[in-house]
Amino acid sequence: MILVWLLILLMGTGLLAWLVAKWSATLSRLISLAGTVMYIVIVIFLLVEYKQNPVGQKWTVSFTHEWIPTFGIQLKLAADGLSLLMLLLTSFLGLLSVLISWKEIQKRVGFFHFNLMFELAGITGVFLCMDMFLFYFFWEVMLIPMFFLISIWGNENRIYAANKFFLFTQGSGLLMLLSILGIYFIHGHNTGIYTFDYELLLGTVMLPQTGFILMLGFAIAFFIKLSIVPFHSWLPDAHTQAPTAGSVILAGLLLKTGAYGFIRFVLPLFPEASHQFAPVAMTLGVISILYGAKLVFAQTDLKRLVAYISVSHMGYILLGIYAFNEMAMLGVVMQMIVHGISTGALFIIAGMLHERIQTRDIEQMGGFWSTVPRMGTMAVLFVMATLGLPGFGNFIAEALILMGTFLTNKTLASIAALGIVASTIYALHILQKVFYGKEFKPRSIADLNIREMVVMGSLALLILGLGLFPNVLLDVSTSSVVALIEKVNSLNF
């Protein structure tokens, strides 16, 4: 029941924030802040409970209720270690999104927070649902608020970006719906039980070809969400045009739903087809790593540049998922979290700069170090984290993924490792262009204020903490990951 309350909390907060905005914008912000704080508290409480639970229990909390019994559709929510970690990330980035929008969003504050909260609710739903129909439902629910966030509060080219995002994800979602219906009927024909229940569908027996085609429906939807080359073209536009909070949620959470989809649905539902598909997927992953990194160099728009860094990092995630071993999969989980933090932080910095100098063009930046030392320090820290400097969480994640992949596919792992070199170069390139070098023109810009310091400081602490004590995070996800890998590899290839 507590999982349902999480969703109700977010939606209720959103509605309330919308309603009170008529009288006071600040009250609307405060309500959203309170809502996200409560959300984070509940998630931490759930995590503590998870820690105390005996090992071997599959779900820490779950909730099942009839929704549309005629079709075997349930309101089935459940959380294991993996889901809880994703919820933690969601709640944390949600809280930050409210904080960073405090000054940036000045018009239609109520509707903004309504969309923000519904977006978080949709994402939470995706990470929790254990019913395929419900999954598709939430998958689409998280689309609409983001569409509004980009199209109303975005930058100059927002309409184009919003439409592109909408069409890409909606189209891919419908393909996934076809696949879901495919499994539903195959399972129904086989057993006589027509259900969308994820756990019942797990063992569905199907012809290899059918399985492969159905798997592709899912995979394309998740590729697009994960923005794997060649399905990535919506991402730079959406990220660049979205308001800062939108970019943070897009990069930090929406992309992760794609990765989560692979881990939770594609591999367990189609183990055989996934093994067949692995070489292709891993190659696409490597292409994403290198091609994304290459494109970073060509960008002059700071947010677009960070967006391509995301493309590159999502390549690692795909590579690790299809390596089919524990080490790589733990790396993937780690990467999902740390990428959310580090890229989120970079987007926040880009947003803060944009707010201050009204441009995202890095050709017009330079020499900010002396004027905004605090922001500069933070930027150095997160750029270093992004390039995978030891001591930061990103290093652990990338190292685990590459080592894990090396066990299965030496060639691809070696090529992928080149990505680290590229990321070092582009990371230094960013710092050189933005914070060092000559000043483009003298400007007086304010350094980080307390609110911004709180935001950046907490992000910095987290990323450092995860780098130094990765086990805290890895422990939580281990049991889910081990179970998954065992299941996928039990086919004896």
């Binding site: 079709f71 439902f137 189209g171 419908l174």
Partner: protein, 479 residues
């Protein structure tokens, strides 16, 4: 034919009330022209007919000769038609007050009731004669309704276009019926079903040709591609409530009649016919949505949306069996609600002498009239099939019907065309979300509370059915 018993009359009571109500309204107009009185009496007639229908649902189908059958399926569609008519009548009141304040108003209600009567009779027809007569009742009332504002050139043009094409399509329909009658000697649907299996090849060809011609006639009424040319012009020329009437009452009746005809006459096994339907369906979905992209006129856009949505319904119809027919019924219901709501908004924000048809009329509606804009967004999302709205459940059921019967081509075309459609729905939504531009300040008409209430109720219904569709699904599954 046997004599008509009291029981027959009683089971036809909703339609009898409607027919009697039309006469009463006519007399009322003759006694004294008063817009409000006629409006209220129309609503009362509709409510009486509706409640009579709801409290009088038979357990088993009841045949009235060969002509009609009173069953739950027919009654469900009658209820849907009465509901749609009710909304159209309320919208007409607003439209008549806003658009032509000084001119004749009362006869419009008469004609609307007539269309509802025709459509209501059509969904229970089981015979070519009753089917054709009810179809003509709808057509004739629509001829005059489309060109009701005869002072407007567009209305006259639309009316003429509709009349010429409808007359031609009726001719096709009649010819098709004649061909089938020529070889089978039967005019009742079940009679045809009994004759068909024993036919020789040359006769079968005649039957297929006859069905083909009937499809032409019905396809015209449904406004599916390639018989859709009239739709955008007529929707644009007619006043918005009348466009809504065409999109719901007229099309809903034909869909039900089509389903009944194919089921009772057992025509699903004619592969050529089904192939023709498949082509019509694919074309409707693709052409409807592609042409929708080019529209700057909201009513034309809704016309194309309606073409594409009828395509989705036909997907379910082709899939056949129970899942398909239930999906078609469900989709028809949610489509009716959404399109009524959308035309309702157009009606409400229209000013006198000009309807709010241009997309520019909707600029920054979100910030000027947030309730109306939210409602319109919900209707458009429902037409596009986005979750949390009824349209999503409808589309899901249609896709389910298509995949269950392995109509993969139809399912994939449906997916592709839905994505195309999103673009024009989102365009309108984005225009509504634009910040207010003070330089072009379009004055808004006074918004009538009744209109707002009905639109809000419809949008709540859309969301309710999108989140808890179980009730409606059960209702439909028990048909």
């Amino acid at each position: 034919m046997s004599e008509i018993s009291m029981h027959d009359i009683l089971s036809l009571l909703p339609m009898v009330i409607l027919a009697g109500g039309i006469l009463v309204t006519m007399i009322l107009i003759a006694i004294k022209r008063n817009h409000l009185i006629i409006f209220i009496s129309t609503l009362v007639i509709l409510l009486a007919s509706f409640s009579c229908l709801v409290y009088n649902v038979p357990e088993t189908p009841h045949n009235i000769g060969d002509l009609f059958i009173i069953d739950r399926f027919g009654l469900y569609f009658q209820a849907l038609i009465l509901f749609s008519t009710f909304v159209v009548v309320v919208l007409s009141y607003i439209s008549l007050k806003n658009l032509f304040p000084q001119k004749r108003k009362e006869e419009q209600y008469l004609l609307i009731l007539l269309a509802a009567l025709g459509s209501g009779m059509m969904v229970i027809s089981t015979h070519f004669i009753s089917f054709f007569v009810s179809l003509e009742i709808i057509s004739i009332s629509l001829y005059s309704l489309v060109s009701y504002y005869r002072e407007l050139e567009k209305a006259i043009e639309a009316g003429l276009k509709y009349m010429l094409l409808a007359a031609m399509s009726s001719a096709f329909l009649l010819f098709g019926m004649a061909l089938i009658y020529a070889v089978s000697g039967k005019m009742s649907f079940t009679g045809i079903a009994t004759i068909l299996p024993d036919m020789n090849t040359s006769h079968t060809i005649m039957v297929v040709a006859g069905i083909g011609m009937m499809i032409t006639g019905m396809g015209f009424k449904l406004g599916v591609v390639p018989f859709h040319m009239w739709a955008p012009d007529v929707y644009e020329g007619a006043s918005s409530p009348i466009s809504a009437l065409i999109a719901t009452v007229s099309k809903g009746g034909v869909v039900a009649a089509l389903i009944r005809f194919f089921l009772m006459a057992n025509l699903y096994h004619f592969e050529k016919v089904m192939l023709a339907f498949t082509i019509i369906t694919i074309l409707s979905m693709l052409v409807g949505n592609l042409l929708g992209l080019l529209q700057n006129n909201v009513k034309r856009m809704l016309a194309y949306s309606s073409i594409a949505n009828l395509g989705y319904i036909l997907v379910a119809f082709i899939a056949g069996n129970n899942t398909g027919l239930h999906a078609a019924t469900f989709y028809m219901t949610v489509y009716c609600i959404a399109i009524l709501g959308a035309f309702g908004i157009v009606t409400i924000i229209s000013q006198s002498d000009a309807e709010a048809t241009s997309i520019e009329n909707y600029r920054s509606l979100f910030w000027k009239k947030p309730i109306l804009a939210t409602a319109l967004t919900i209707f458009l999302f429902s037409l596009a099939g986005i979750p949390l709205t009824a349209g999503f459940m409808g589309k899901y059921l249609v896709l389910m019907a298509a995949t269950e019967n392995a109509h993969w081509l139809l399912a994939i075309v449906l997916v592709i065309s839905s994505v195309i459609a999103l673009y024009y729905y989102s365009r309108l939504i984005l225009v509504m979300a634009k910040p207010p531009d003070d330089s072009v300040n379009l004055a808004f008409p006074t918004i009538r509370l009744g209109g707002v209430i009905i639109v809000v109720l419809l949008s709540i219904l859309v969301v309710w059915l999108g989140v808890w569709p179980e009730y409606l699904m059960r209702l439909i599954y028990n048909l």
